[in-house]
């Protein structure tokens, strides 16, 4: 995709429930029930606008990432953009 930066669509609320998290997304009024790594990605984005590399670096500082994490993160971000939880620019 042509997007170069990503930001979380604020405001949202995330509540951890056993293995999943329930997220209320203010812009859409929708509730999503999401799995790891979504809450972690949103938390890493915080209120900032980041490139894929910057976001990957932030996640890498807190977690041990799997092989080919960049492709995985890119795919997750595309899904989050489709849901509306992340804004790509």
């Amino acid at each position: 995709m042509g997007a170069s930066t990503y930001a979380a669509s604020l405001p949202f609320k995330s509540v951890a429930l056993d293995g999943l998290s329930a997220i209320y997304h203010g812009a859409s009024g929708a509730t999503h029930v999401v799995a790891e790594p979504v809450p972690q990605i949103l938390e890493a984005l915080g209120g900032d606008t980041l490139t894929l590399a910057e976001l990957l670096a932030r996640l890498g500082a807190d977690y041990d990432l799997d092989d080919d994490a960049e492709a995985g993160l890119s795919a997750r971000l595309d899904e989050l953009v489709a849901l509306g939880l992340v804004i790509a620019r």
Binding site: A16, G19, A30, V33, A35, P37, G72, R76, L83
Partner: protein, 135 residues
């Protein structure tokens, strides 16, 4: 009471350094589901519900890699599952196991189909009631 240890399972297994693994490419499913307006309610137990792939209305059709239902014989798509999967099997597949009798890519296609299920389609309420096991 019930086993209430779910809360501390959220953070999963810590590695030596106190850091934990994050699987960014694990399962192709950011949103397990999006809540929809309901007048009815679903109350289906994970243990005794089933998810046909595809649903009976589209029986015989193939499942493409992205989970869409396509015409039988479509190149690159997978044959329908011979029997419905149980909630338990799907639950395990979401945490990394393959669905029974499937190859890696076939498993991914079926899971993509399942997470595209919508209210009113066969298997949706079962899927909706699934919970992820603590990892």
């Amino acid at each position: 009471m019930f086993d209430e240890d779910s809360e501390n399972e959220v953070s999963g297994a810590a590695t030596d350094a106190g850091r934990r693994a994050l699987m960014l490419g694990a399962v192709g499913a950011s949103a397990v589901l999006t809540v929809r307006p309901a007048l009815a309610q679903s109350a289906v137990s994970v243990l005794n519900c089933q998810i046909p792939v595809p649903d009976p209305a589209r029986a015989g059709q193939y499942i493409a890699a992205d989970g869409t239902v396509v015409a039988p014989g479509t190149v690159g798509a997978f044959v329908p599952a011979p029997r419905p999967f149980t909630g338990q099997e799907v639950k395990q597949a979401l945490s990394g196991l393959n669905l029974p009798g499937t190859s890696y890519t076939q498993n991914q296609a079926y899971l993509n189909y399942i997470r595209r299920l919508q209210y009113g389609q066969s298997g949706f309420t079962c899927f909706a009631s699934l919970q992820m096991p603590g990892r």
